[in-house]
Amino acid sequence: MHKPMEQYKDMDAQLIDEFGRGNEAAFDILFTKYNNKLYASLLAFTKSKELAEDLTQQTFIRVWKKIETFRGESSLFTWMYRIAINLAKNEFNSKETRKQVLTDVIEDNHEIASSISSPESMAIEKESMDAVISFISSMQSDLKEAISLREFDGKSYEEIAQITSSPVGTVRSRIFRAREEILKFMKEEEIYG
C-alpha cells in the first residue's frame, strides 16, 4: 500500500536535499538518472551529437549551480529540461558565438565540468549498440514490449498497463526483468560491467 504523498519526500527531493548539504554523491545519482534522458532530448532538438553532448554538460553545470532554486513545482526532469531547452534555443539564436560561449562556460566551470562525464554510450562502439538492440529484439515478447514502450515511446507505467491490459505491478516487473536481461547480456558480451 502506498503511503500518502504528504508522508514522504520522493527520492529526487531527498537527493537534492543531500546535495544541498554538501553530499556530491547525491548529484552523481541525479546525473546518472537524467543525463542520458537529457542528452536524447537535446539530440532530438539539435540533430548533432557533439552539440547535444556540449549542451547536456552545460545543462548539468547550470543544474549544479542552480539546484537550490528548484522549488518542486514541476518534476525535476521538467525543470532540467527547461534549462536544456533554453540553452538549445540560445544555440539556435547565436550559432556563430556558440563555440566561444561553450569554451568560456566550460573554462569558467572547469572544476564542475571535470566531474560531469559525457553520456556513457558515447564510449560504446556502434557494433555493440547494434548487438544490444538485436538482443532486445530477441527477448520474450512481453518484456520487449514493456521496455520498448518505456524507452522508445516514453510511456508511463500506467499507460503501458492500459496498452498491454496488464496491472501496473506487472509492467514494473517486466521492465525491471527486461533491464536485468539486457544488463546480463551486456556483461556476457563485455559491453558493460
Partner: protein, 220 residues
Amino acid sequence: MDNKERLSAFYDNELHEDSSDLLQLLQEENSLSKELKGYSLISSIMQQTRFSSPQHKANTKLKINLITHSFAAAAAIFLTLGFITFFNPAKFDYDEKSSQLLADAIASEEGQIRLNQDQDILVDHLFRVMDERNLNTNMSPGWVPVGFSQNKEKPAIFSNGPKKFVLHVENSNVSLTKPIYWKKGNNLVYLHPTTDGKIITVYGNIRPAEAQKIVFSLKR
C-alpha cells in the same frame, strides 16, 4: 519488490513510496550504483539507436497531415517560445512567466509525445522560423494586409494594435499537402503550402480564418 526493482522504478520516476532506505543503500552499495548506471546506459543505447536508425531517417519524410499529435506538440512548444521571442520585449529569459509557460508546454502530454515522435523536420522548420534572422517576407514586397501595419524594424511582424502576427515564406521540405494550424489559447500557428513548393507560416494572436485571409491576400 526487491531493491533492484525499486531502483528500476525510481529510474523511471515511478517509485511512489518512501525510499529513504533505498537512497541510503544506493550511496553505500556500489553494486546498486552500477545497476543504475546500467539502466541509464540501456536508455541511451535504445534512444540513440532509434535516432540513427534507417526507419527513423525514413520517417523524417514528414506525413504531417496524418500525425497531428506531434505537430500539435511541436507547435505548442513553438508557440510558447515564439511568442516570448517575438512579443516579449525582454526576450526569452528566466523570468517567472516565461518559465512557467515553457514548463506548461513541455510538461503537456503533447510535449511528451513530441519527444517520442519523428517530426524532426517540422520542429526544424518551426525553430528556424522562430529565429528572426531567418524570416523572409519577400514573396510579395510592399504587401501589407488590410488594417495592419508593418513593423519598421522587424518587417516580418505586422500589427493592428491588439493583434500581432509574424509572417514567413520559405521553400520547405515540410511535405504539407493542405493548410494546417494549431491553436493554443489565443495564439495560432498556421502553415500553408503553395503550389510552387513554398510554405507560408503565419503565427500570432489571430484566428485561423484571419490567417487564411492573410495568406490568400498575400498570394494575390
